[in-house]
Structures are given as structure tokens and as C-alpha cells.
């Protein structure tokens, strides 16, 4: 019993892992970053399917990165698995608390309040000289699950970890969206009043989805910290959060694979534009976005939908 999405997911993940040894370093790095950020966008997609847009997912991206990095920085733990565990747990705990407040807000209030929280963390980090203020600090990883990572293999190990974690997250979220709670999330987007009149708590579902989105954001941040080897407060800055929303709109929310696909396209455009048109790379992105909104209002994923329908 495996549906189309899961088959494609497994196929792409296997292909990436198989191709890993033959990939140039820069490509492995680009894919790692794109997938890690795709995880954050995946969380945003879940929120959007519940009818919410967060302009503050950078908060969890940043918290995940700092949680992972602090294990190295403050506790002297250099194991990638433990660092990623911290990158998962810290955002979850924070989201559980903030969710108590945020679950009562909708629309622009939810968006702005989530942005406000991310900017508070940004402000705190930038003033904390022990954590490098606006410069941040470097992150060193020496092992994964206790197995030492050989010199020069860091990039490939992190890409493998990113592909595997993204695959697990996408598969799990696909299952979730097709379960009762996923259906209820869409129902909440359509009509909250009716959900309450059917005897279910809208608040609880919103809170749960918010925490799941934070967990995905945290893992994405943790993976980014490991892969880049450096973190700074800009990860919580509002433009970072805005970029996640940008990629979510670019990708479309119709499928769990869309955020990863959109994120890879986004990183590719950014890298190429940076290289060949360094002065107008933001304009290039803007034009790409304009084209997508005009021709593919349901996001890049609509390209695949259309093809399957025609076939």
C-alpha cells in the first residue's frame, strides 16, 4: 500500500544517496542547504494548510541551529546525532509554550505575532556577546552516532543525513496530512465554527500543528548549522522568515514534496544569479516569483499535477 508521493519520495532519496559519492562538493552543499531549508518550508506548508501563515519560522530555524551549535560551543559535545536531537527538542519546547498564546490568533495577527517572537530572539542574540553577537560563532562536528567523521567527508555525511531526515519528515507529514488530523486541519482552514460545533477543539489542532512546524524548522536549522559550520542571529531575522514564506508560495502547498522541490529551485536560482548577475540577483528572484504567481498560482508543484492529469 504505497501511494505515488511515497514512491517518488523514496526514488528521489535513493537517487540522491546513490549519486552522493560522485557529486561535486558544491552541488552536495547546495542540495544539503536546500533540503534543510525545505524542512522549514514543510512546516510552513502544514501551517498554511491549517489556514495560518507564519512570518516567524526563522525563530525555530535559528533556535535549532543555536541548540545544535551550543552543544559544541558550551558543552563540548561534537556528535551530529546529539546536536540534531537538541535542534529538535529546544524548538519543540519553545513552541509548546508560545503556542499557548499563538493558538488563539489568526490571519495577520498570527503572522505578526510570530514575527515579533522571532525578532525578540534576534534582538537577544545580537546583544549577547558570549554567543558572538551579530557575528555568531563556528560549529565543529566530529562524529555521528559516536562514529568519527573522517576529514573531508563532513559535507557528504551531512548531505546523507539531510536526505534521510528530509525523507522521513516528508513521509511522516504526508501520512499526517492524509490522516484524520490532516483532514481536520483543512476543515479548520475552511470553517472553524463548524469544527467546534462537531465537538473538536480548534485550538488543540492549531497548537499541535504549530509545534510540528517548529520541530521541522528546528531540524532544518540544526542541519544548516552542521553543514555550514557557522551560525549567526540572521537566521532569526525577518527576511529569513520571509524567504521561507516566499519559497512556500513558490512551491505550492499541494504536496509534501513541493517544498523541497521549490527550495532546490530557489537555491539554484540564488546561486546562479549570485554568480552571473551578482548585482541583480534579488531582482531575478523577484521576477521568477512574479512569473510563478501569474502563470502558476498554485505554485511550481502545479507543473507536476498538470502532467499527471494530462497523462
Amino acid at each position: 500500500m504505497m501511494d505515488h508521493t511515497l514512491r517518488v519520495l523514496l526514488g528521489v532519496a535513493a537517487l540522491l544517496l546513490a549519486g552522493l559519492p560522485f557529486m561535486p562538493q558544491w552541488l552536495a552543499f547546495l542540495i544539503t542547504l536546500a533540503l534543510a531549508r525545505g524542512l522549514v518550508v514543510l512546516g510552513l506548508v502544514l501551517l498554511m494548510r491549517t489556514g495560518l501563515v507564519s512570518f516567524g519560522q526563522g525563530l525555530y530555524y535559528c533556535l535549532g541551529a543555536y541548540a545544535a551549535a551550543l552543544l559544541d560551543h558550551a558543552a563540548g559535545i561534537h556528535d551530529a546525532a546529539l546536536m540534531l536531537l537538541a535542534a529538535l527538542l529546544v524548538p519543540v519546547v519553545v513552541a509548546l509554550v508560545l503556542g499557548l498564546l499563538l493558538a488563539s490568533y489568526r490571519g495577520i495577527f498570527f503572522a505578526m505575532l510570530s514575527l515579533a517572537f522571532s525578532m525578540i530572539v534576534f534582538g537577544l542574540l545580537i546583544k549577547t556577546s558570549a554567543l558572538g553577537s551579530s557575528d555568531g560563532f563556528n560549529v565543529a562536528t566530529r562524529s555521528i552516532f559516536g562514529i568519527a567523521i573522517a576529514d573531508g567527508y563532513n559535507g557528504r555525511v551531512f548531505m546523507a543525513a539531510t536526505v534521510i531526515l528530509s525523507g522521513i519528515a516528508a513521509g511522516a507529514l504526508h501520512h499526517y496530512l492524509n490522516s484524520h488530523l490532516g483532514r481536520l486541519s483543512a476543515a479548520i482552514r475552511d470553517n472553524e465554527l463548524r469544527v467546534e460545533y462537531l465537538g473538536a477543539s480548534v485550538r488543540n489542532v492549531v497548537h499541535l500543528n504549530y509545534v510540528i512546524a517548529a520541530a521541522l524548522g528546528g531540524i532544518g536549522g540544526g542541519l544548516t548549522a552542521l553543514a555550514v559550520g557557522h551560525i549567526d542571529p540572521d537566521m532569526a531575522y525577518w527576511t529569513t522568515s520571509g524567504e521561507f514564506v516566499f519559497v512556500a508560495v513558490l512551491s505550492g502547498t499541494g504536496n509534501v514534496l513541493a517544498p523541497f522541490f521549490g527550495s532546490v529551485i530557489f537555491e539554484a536560482i540564488r546561486t546562479l544569479a549570485n554568480q552571473y548577475a551578482p548585482n541583480i540577483w534579488q531582482m531575478t528572484l523577484g521576477l521568477a516569483m512574479l512569473a510563478i504567481i501569474m502563470f502558476l498560482p498554485a505554485g511550481l508543484w502545479a507543473l507536476f499535477r498538470r502532467k499527471t492529469r494530462a497523462a
Partner: protein, 254 residues
Amino acid sequence: MSAILEAQGLSKSFGAVIAAADINVSVARDSVTGLIGSNGAGKTTFINMVTGYMKPGAGTIRFDGHDITPFTPRRITQLGIARSFQVPQLFNSLAVRDNLLAAVGIVAAAATRWAHGAITRERAGAVTDEMLGRFGLDAYRDKPAGVLPEGVRKLLDIAMALVVKPRILLLDEPTSGVSADEKFGIMDVVMSAVKSDRVTVMFVEHDMDIVNRYAQRVLAFYDGRIIADGAPATVLKDDEVRKYVIGEQLHVAR
């Protein structure tokens, strides 16, 4: 016959508008009651107060002997009072079957809370398909709820209310916006569905043919008060009801 729902001294005002002024009603178990009255007479306000959507300014509402006045709509639904809406409240982007499945899933997910929770959990798909069949929605099962004709939307709205197997069902104008030749069909479907489950029904209705045919008892609202209460034959002949609710002039002219 014992009362399943008792309202005592209910009042509610919106600024200068009095939507309920000292309403006292006791509703018998397994009865079918029609609520009539002109627009603004307080019928929907009554439903909103019973289901916890609005808190009465004064008075108490008892369900099966328990005070439910302070409860939220969610809690009241869980206790066994469900409602349909004058404007159907559906999940417009979801298919008809998914609308019902969402409702069925709520019962299944908190199975211990509902008497029929365990069965619903085991047979969620089958329960949903049974509901589709019972309400004649099979033909629309994969259509998004937002594009359906009004009569079908009304039926789906009522079907969703019945998923929780309520002990009291409140219908807010079940046949408004529905064509004249469909209205009895809708009511027949609903009434036969509730009859097998022993549900107490209260419905708001402007159509006196419907009231006459389905109600055992009629409450006539005017200006936030109940001006007549009794069997349809008596209430619909009442002078005040003819004057304030039905509109004597119109009937004479005809």
C-alpha cells in the same frame, strides 16, 4: 414524559433590541417541536443560547437535569446537543465525503467520549458511507462542498450534525433557500434519519406547511417572547399568532 431540555427565565438583549425576554420552555424527550416567528423574533437567538454560542443575559438552560448555561458549543455538542445552520456551515474546499469523514473522525479520535465512539472508530469509512447513503449524497461524494446546490448543502449540513448521534437536534430553517418541490423531501429524509435514533428535534421554520406536517408542538416567538405554545392546529389558529407571525392580511387576501 420527562423533559430533556428546560429553559428558565432566559433573556438576552443586543443593545436596545430584546432578542429574548424571560423565555420559559420545557421540551419533552423524543418530541418534535417547531419554532415559528417573524425575523428578529428570537428563534435563532434561542438556538444560539441553547448551543452555547451566546450566553444568555439571565436565566438557566438545563439539559437532562444538568445546567449547561456556561458551556461552550464544543462542550455542549459533546454532551449531545447538535445543530444545523440556516446558512450551511461546511468545509467548502473538501469533498462531500471528506466533510462527513472529518466529522466521523472527530468522534472516532475521542472514542471514549462518545457512546458510539468505539464502533465509529472501527468502521469510520463504513459509517461515513452509510450517512452518504441515508442522506442521498452518494452522487455528490467526490464534489467539493462549495459547489453544491443549496438543497444538497442543507442535507450535508444536517448529516454532519447527526454524526455525533445527538440526543437533541436543533435545525435552523432546514428548508430555507430550497425549492418548493424539494422541501418535503429534505424533511422526510431528516425525520426518518432521526426517528430510528430517538432524537429530540426542534426546528425553526417559516414554512407553515412544514410546521403543520412535522411538528407535534409549536412555539410561536414574537419580540423575544413566546406568545403561543401548543399543538400546531391550535397555535396556527391563535389570533396573536395569525396577527404577528403568519400575517393575517396575506392569508385573507388569498
